[in-house]
């Protein structure tokens, strides 16, 4: 099975729970964001309960992404807790 490397970024409350803002992850190629979420739940038990919450959004390369988005080599995936700017 071929693998790819991606960057995963955590912000705000998620960063606090994970204990760092950014990690590099090696994952199988051609998987969707939905599948990546399952991998993240296994790798980061401290935020597993939050990953499926509707108010946690995901971005890929700084654009909002859905569960169908396919993750590619070098992608930057970010977990975005509810925004509170303004």
């Amino acid at each position: 099975m071929e693998t790819i490397n991606i960057t995963v970024r955590f912000f705000a409350m998620l960063k606090g729970r994970v204990g760092r803002g950014e990690i590099t992850l090696t994952i199988p190629e051609n998987i969707s964001l939905g599948k990546l979420k399952e991998i993240l739940k296994g790798q980061f038990p401290s935020i597993a309960d939050l990953i499926d919450k509707k108010n946690i959004m995901f971005s890929v390369n700084q654009e909002f992404a859905t569960n169908n988005t396919i993750i590619k080599e070098g992608d930057e995936v970010a977990l975005l807790p509810p925004f509170s700017g303004g």
Binding site: F11, A12, N55, A78, L80, P82, F83, S84, G85, G86
Partner: protein, 140 residues
């Protein structure tokens, strides 16, 4: 200087309004929304606010908001400025300036822009209170 900025330092409301106003002589009305740090939240006394953001994506979203406002409302110019980092009580947080020929368009665009900013911009506020720290999750 750009009319869309995220910065640690304070901005000058007067200077930014002046820059927006200078963009066209057709401007007849300017509406500005200024968000500031308040000292109370859900009964807890706030000591300070900490704003975190997603560098790159946050600027991109603010630029998108300005572009969409210019497209969808009858306005002439818009400026959007947001501070990040540690912000004290009473200090400036966010400034949105909408300039139009007539006031109604400026009011409408300004209100839309601040709502859209809160909805789609990856910026997070942490309230540091005397009882502890909490990431804010909802928009009143």
């Amino acid at each position: 200087m750009s009319l869309v900025r995220i910065q640690k330092d304070d901005f000058s409301v007067t200077d930014e309004i002046g820059r927006v106003k200078a963009s066209s002589k057709s401007i007849g009305g300017i509406v500005a929304f200024l968000g500031t740090g308040r000292d109370i939240s859900k009964g807890a006394e706030i000591v300070r606010l900490d704003f975190e953001y997603y560098p790159g994506m946050a600027e991109k979203k603010l630029n998108e908001i300005r572009e969409r406002a210019l497209q969808n409302f009858n306005i002439i110019e818009m400026g959007i400025f947001h501070r990040v980092g540690k912000i004290g009580i009473g200090e400036n947080i966010v400034l949105i300036i909408a300039a139009a020929q007539h006031r109604n368009d400026a009011f409408t665009a300004c209100e839309w822009a601040i709502s859209e900013l809160k909805r789609i911009t990856p910026i997070w506020k942490k309230e540091i209170t005397k009882k502890g720290e909490v990431w804010v999750e909802e928009h009143p």
